[in-house]
Structure formats: structure tokens, C-alpha cells
């Protein structure tokens, strides 16, 4: 299911598919415009820019606005980042201050490798 996210903030729709093998579809669930939310958004954007430059699509969803979506998507803790594509589906919880963990969680780095 592909919810058309009205709250998704248009992020870098950068550099087309070109030679990049995989397009990342990421969804970030936050609760309101708190400091924590802002921090999470900024952190994830930075990580994506660094490691997925040009091959990701990030939707930010405010669960206050879309509570039903929180239920449908089984959101319990926020912020939660869901990697919808490529499979398998992955989740990372937190404000993403720990970039390494985010990368491991998104299968962007083999577990434990620097």
C-alpha cells in the first residue's frame, strides 16, 4: 500500500535513477513538531545525503495528523524510520543521533563493520 503522504516533506529528489542500482523508499514517523522530531528529520536527512545521495525518497509523517496510519503501520515508538524499499522492510527507532546504528539498521553497512 502506498499512502499518498500529504505531510511528506519534499526532500532532495536528486540525481535520477541513473546507474544507481537501488532506490530507497524511506518513511519517517514523528509525533508533532517537537525538538525531537526536528532533530530526527535533520539527522536522517544528513545520513541519507551522505550515504544514499540521490537514490532515496523520504516521506515524513506526523502521526498526530495521521493516527490511523500509526495503527496501520504498527508504529509504537517515535521517531521510527521505516525502510519500505528495497526489501526487506526495516525499522530503526530513535532520533538517529547514532548514525552507525541507523546504517546497520538500514542494511547499508554490514553489522559491526566500521
Amino acid at each position: 500500500m502506498m499512502p499518498s503522504t500529504t505531510t511528506a516533506r519534499p526532500t532532495k529528489k536528486a540525481a535520477k535513477a541513473t546507474a544507481t542500482p537501488e532506490e530507497y523508499l524511506l518513511r519517517l514517523y514523528v509525533a508533532g513538531t517537537t525538538q525531537q522530531s526536528t532533530r530526527a528529520i535533520l539527522n536522517i536527512q544528513q545520513i541519507c545525503e551522505e550515504h544514499l545521495n540521490g537514490r532515496y525518497h523520504l516521506e515524513v509523517i506526523d502521526i498526530y495528523q495521521r493516527p490511523q496510519l500509526a495503527r496501520d503501520e504498527q508504529i509504537v515508538a517515535v521517531p521510527t524510520l521505516v525502510k519500505k524499499l528495497p526489501a526487506p522492510l526495516r525499522r530503526v527507532i530513535g532520533s538517529f543521533s547514532d548514525a552507525e546504528r541507523v546504517l546497520v539498521g538500514l542494511d547499508l553497512r554490514p553489522n559491526g563493520a566500521p
Partner: protein, 579 residues
């Protein structure tokens, strides 16, 4: 639903929310603390989830309080299926917007945690669910699952703390279930957060009989039953049995009902048992206890009342056949729905389960008379004390409902007459004793009223006979320091009859004798009277003769004197004197 719990108003100032769960509201004196959270902890399969589900279902159906079920371990479908066995249709409630089920799925150690977070997702979902139907009740089952999926217990604990506070602010009455931990109430120490009311559930197997028990560990600001109370998961949800604590508050009826045996009614102050009283009939095997019970059942049905009959030894059909042999055909009452049997071997399940079944059947059937035959068989599934406590609860339960309860108790031969196997006689209002009397090579049955509270009952023994047309009570022969029954009584009665006859004969004979003697005397009196009369007459005649003779003589003398011309007064007087 017809069941209305008789919850007392909380006097402690705590507002309570009735659970509608049978017995729990009595135990908590009105229900769970309204607007607060109650922790329900217990091991796997102890009934936590069912308690939560029933709390919501009853709330939605009986108390107009919609509910939200946040389930962490079973999804909506599984949940609905599991509680369907209790007669709860969650899907229907969901369709009618009386219930929202939200399955919060947290996979074990799935999501890595990178930085700080909170449980706002859960909050949002709960708020959404609550607001969507205006829920007043929330159940979280089992929130500890979060600890498996979110392995950052510091934040989680802070968040849970916030969650419980939030629930309170929301004003919903919450039930939070938790796994029992080793050495503490819950595995994750949730009792630290939720401390207004804590209920512990337990599922124990004792002698291969599983019993569920419930205990209210604490209830801040409210009194509550402190013991462990057995409960059962039945076809109508949970039933807790806090009956003992209910106290002696039932109203005693002046109404009397027939025992079905007119002569027995006579013995019981002429009117039979009190309605709503408990009657015990004890006796050795084959003394007619069951037959006596059958008469009561028959009499109740004749009055158009309902009778619930618990059989622990016979099947209903066997029972009906046996009773037909003494002229009682109870089958029509069964057909008319006035008489209902429940036959079960006592060891089929545990005491509590029996008690529960009895409760439920009584609730459903609403009888005026209940018979337990024989209650002593229950002892095979419990200790004496357990059975006694079961009976105390049962009797209280029946009395509260003005149900006349009839118990038969089998005493083993050679036992002291006035003691029953389970020492329950003190609980009984009326105690009839049936016993065998062996004499002259025959056994005869005797019945007497050992006690009967509140009525002038007979202190005499009656002979108890089972005939082709029911029970017959006959006066026994009491006299010459002996009590005779059966043929001995008949023989004695015959002897007495003969003696009486003879005595009468003798009397008649003597009376006749005296009669004739009287006649004789009277005749003699008449004769004497006549004799007397004739004697008197004779004497009178004699007197008259004498008088006339003297007169004549005087005349003659005068004549002679005149003739002789003697007229000398001196001479005459001299002559007269000389004569």
C-alpha cells in the same frame, strides 16, 4: 443481560466502575477504581486476558461504557476467537462501535535503537481509539511485551510511567495485565507504576484438579476481600466466588412450603419447611433420603415452582425410574421445564468447578427449590474443610435468593447418629434424620426431626415407609418403654387390640350383671314396701278393733251398772280401780 450485580456503593469516597464479572464486584465492594488503573498479574493461562476482555464486554453491554482493547500478544482475530468461547462477540461490539481492538505488534528485538525516542506512537493510537468511540475503559494486554521489542528499558520505564499518568488524565478506567515474575508480582515490576489496585490470578493444579484463584493484593482506599477466591472460566465468562464474606444478611421468610409428605409437614409444626431455609436429611444407605427429596421436588413442581436437582450418584433416567417405583412420576415436570436435573460424578471436576456450575445453573434456571443428592459425595473431591466451606457459600448463595435448599447426607453405618460426615449440620435450619431400626429379623425405617429452627416441631419418631404411592409416615408403637416398628408394631397393635376387645367384653358382662342385680334389688324393695304397707294396715286395723272393743266394753259396763242400779260413786270408783 439479565444479570445485575448487587454492588454496594463505595463508602470510602473512591468511585468504582462495576466490572459486571460475577463475584468480582462483590469482592471489591463495587468494582475497580474508576478513572484509575488496575494491574492484573498472573502466569500464563491464568485468565488475565479473559478478565480484561470481560471487563470491556460487560462495560460495553451492561454499563454503557465503550472500551478499547490494546492487545500486544494476540491479534484482533485471535483475540475475538479466544473470547468467543466465553460467549463474547467482540466483532459485533467492534461493528457497533462499542469496542476498538488495536493490535500493537512489537517484534522481538527487531528494530535497532539509534538515539532517544518515546512511546508517542502508542499514545496516539490509544488516544485515537479512545476518542473514536468515547471509550471509558481501556485494557492493555500485556504491556510487558514492549520490553521484548524495545530493549531500552530506561526510556521504556519512563514512558510507561507517563502512559499510566496519561491514562489517569484521560479519565478512563484501565486494566493492565502483566506476567507474574519470580519473587515479585510482575516480571517487569509494573506494580511500581500501577498501584491503585492489584489483582493476582493463579492457576494451580492440586490432585490433578486445576483450580483458578484470584486475590486482591491491594486496593488503595477501599476495603476488599483479602482471601484467595476460586474462580472459573465458564460459558458466561469469569465467575469469582467471594460468597463467604457476604455475611448473614439474608431476609428470613415466614412463608412455608410443603415437604410433599403431609405427615411430615405435620411434624414440622404443621406447615412444612420455611421457604429459603436449608434442609438436611441424613441417614445410612437405603433409608429413603432420595425419596424424601423427590417428594419435595414433586411438591414444588405441583405448586408451579421450579426445582433444580443435582444428582451425584444416579443418572436422571435412573432416578426417574426409581422414583416411579414409589409412585412418583416426575417426568412430566421435566417435560414442562419445572424440574431440571444436573447429573455429574463429583470427581469429574474440582470443587470450585462444581460450585461454579451450581451457581451458574441456579442463575440461569432461577429455581425456588434446589436439591443436592447426596452432598456427601463431594467429599471425594475435597477435604472436609473445603467441602464445608463450599457448602457455607452455597447455602448463603441460596438464602440470598430465597431458595429452599435440600441436602441429603449419607452417614456410614455404625457412625454416631447425630454427626454428619462433613459436620454441616450446624449450617442447616432443619435436620431430618432417617435411620434403620433392626429388630425381629427386619429393618424398618424411622424418621425424626432432629432440629428445625423457628418452628414447634414434633419430637416423636415416626415409622417411615416407602410404598407404591409414595412415602407414608406411621405412628410407631410407643409404650411400655419400647418402640416397635414394622411387624413387631403390627403384632403389638394386634395384641393391644385383642386386649382392648377383651376388656370391653368384661365390662359389658359386668355391667349386665349389675343391671340385673339392680333389678332384683328394686323388686325386693317393692316387696318390702308392700309388706311394710300391709303391716301398717294390719296395725291400724288392730288398733281400731281394740278401740271398738273398749268402747263396747264401756258400754256394756255402763249398761250393766244401769241394770244393777248401782249408783254409788264411791263404790264405782273403787270397783274400777280394783279391776
Amino acid at each position: 443481560m439479565k444479570r445485575k450485580t448487587t454492588a454496594r456503593p463505595a463508602i470510602e469516597g473512591i468511585v468504582k466502575a462495576q466490572t459486571g464479572i460475577q463475584g468480582l464486584d462483590e469482592l471489591t465492594f463495587g468494582g475497580l477504581p474508576r478513572g484509575m488503573a488496575t494491574l492484573v498479574c498472573g502466569g500464563a493461562g491464568s485468565g488475565k486476558t479473559l478478565l480484561g476482555a470481560e471487563f470491556l464486554t460487560r462495560g460495553a453491554t451492561q454499563f454503557d461504557e465503550p472500551g478499547v482493547l490494546i492487545t500486544f500478544e494476540e491479534n484482533e482475530k485471535e483475540m475475538a476467537r479466544n473470547v468467543a468461547s466465553l460467549g463474547f462477540d467482540l466483532n459485533d461490539l467492534v461493528d457497533r462501535k462499542r469496542l476498538v481492538i488495536d493490535y500493537v505488534h512489537v517484534e522481538r528485538s527487531e528494530a535497532p535503537i539509534a538515539g532517544d525516542w518515546n512511546l508517542e506512537g502508542l499514545f496516539v493510537r490509544m488516544a485515537h481509539a479512545i476518542d473514536s468511540i468515547g471509550a471509558k475503559r481501556v485494557v492493555l494486554d500485556t504491556i510487558e511485551a514492549l520490553f521484548a521489542g524495545l530493549n531500552d528499558s530506561t526510556i521504556l520505564r519512563t514512558e510507561l510511567h507517563r502512559l499510566f499518568r496519561w491514562l489517569k488524565e484521560k479519565g478512563v478506567t484501565a486494566v493492565i495485565t502483566a506476567e507474574r515474575g519470580d519473587g515479585k508480582m510482575t516480571r517487569q515490576g509494573l506494580e511500581e507504576y500501577v498501584s491503585d489496585c492489584v489483582i493476582m490470578l493463579d492457576h494451580r493444579v492440586h490432585d490433578q484438579v486445576a483450580t483458578r484463584r484470584m486475590r486482591i493484593v491491594k486496593y488503595r482506599g477501599s476495603r476488599h476481600g483479602a482471601d484467595e477466591y476460586p474462580f472459573l472460566v465458564g460459558a458466561n465468562g469469569l465467575s469469582v466466588l467471594p460468597i463467604t464474606s457476604m455475611g448473614l444478611t439474608h431476609i428470613a421468610s415466614d412463608d412455608r412450603i410443603s415437604s410433599g409428605v403431609p405427615r411430615l409437614d405435620n411434624m414440622l409444626g404443621g406447615q412444612g419447611y420455611y421457604r429459603g431455609s436449608s434442609v438436611l436429611v441424613s441417614g445410612t444407605a437405603g433409608t429413603g433420603k432420595t425419596s424424601l427429596a423427590a417428594h419435595l421436588a414433586d411438591a414444588a413442581c405441583r405448586r408451579g415452582e421450579r426445582c433444580l436437582y443435582f444428582l451425584f450418584e444416579e443418572s436422571p433416567s435412573q432416578y426417574l425410574r426409581n422414583m416411579r417405583s414409589i409412585g412418583l412420576d416426575l417426568a412430566p415436570w421435566v417435560d414442562q421445564g419445572l424440574l431440571k436435573f444436573h447429573a455429574a460424578r463429583p470427581n469429574l471436576y474440582g470443587l470450585e468447578a462444581h460450585l461454579m456450575t451450581m451457581h451458574q445453573l441456579t442463575e440461569q434456571f432461577a429455581p425456588q427449590v434446589v436439591v443436592m443428592d447426596p452432598v456427601t459425595n463431594l467429599i471425594t473431591v475435597g477435604t472436609v474443610n473445603e467441602v464445608k466451606s463450599l457448602l457455607v457459600r452455597l447455602i448463603d448463595f441460596f438464602k440470598m435468593r430465597q431458595i429452599t435448599a435440600f441436602f441429603t447426607s449419607l452417614t456410614s453405618g455404625g457412625q454416631v447418629e447425630e454427626s454428619t460426615d462433613i459436620g454441616i449440620s450446624s449450617l442447616m435450619d432443619t435436620w431430618l434424620s432417617l435411620r434403620d431400626h433392626e429388630n425381629n429379623g427386619e429393618r424398618n425405617r424411622l424418621i425424626y426431626v432432629l432440629k428445625s429452627r423457628g418452628m414447634a416441631h414434633s419430637n416423636q419418631v415416626r415409622e417411615f415407609r416407602l410404598t407404591g404411592h409414595g412415602i407414608d409416615l406411621i405412628d410407631v408403637y410407643v409404650g411400655q418403654g419400647r418402640v416397635l416398628t414394622g411387624t413387631a408394631r403390627l403384632a403389638q397393635e394386634q395384641r393391644e387390640k385383642e386386649e382392648t376387645f377383651e376388656r370391653h367384653h368384661e365390662y359389658v358382662r359386668k355391667a349386665q350383671e349389675q343391671e340385673s342385680k339392680g333389678h332384683l334389688l328394686r323388686a325386693q324393695i317393692t316387696a318390702l314396701q308392700q309388706e311394710l304397707e300391709s303391716t301398717v294396715a294390719d296395725r291400724k286395723r288392730l288398733e281400731a278393733q281394740e278401740n271398738s272393743r273398749q268402747q263396747m266394753r264401756a258400754q256394756i259396763e255402763n249398761e250393766m251398772a244401769r241394770l244393777r242400779q248401782i249408783d254409788r260413786p264411791g263404790d264405782a270408783s273403787h270397783q274400777n280401780q280394783a279391776r
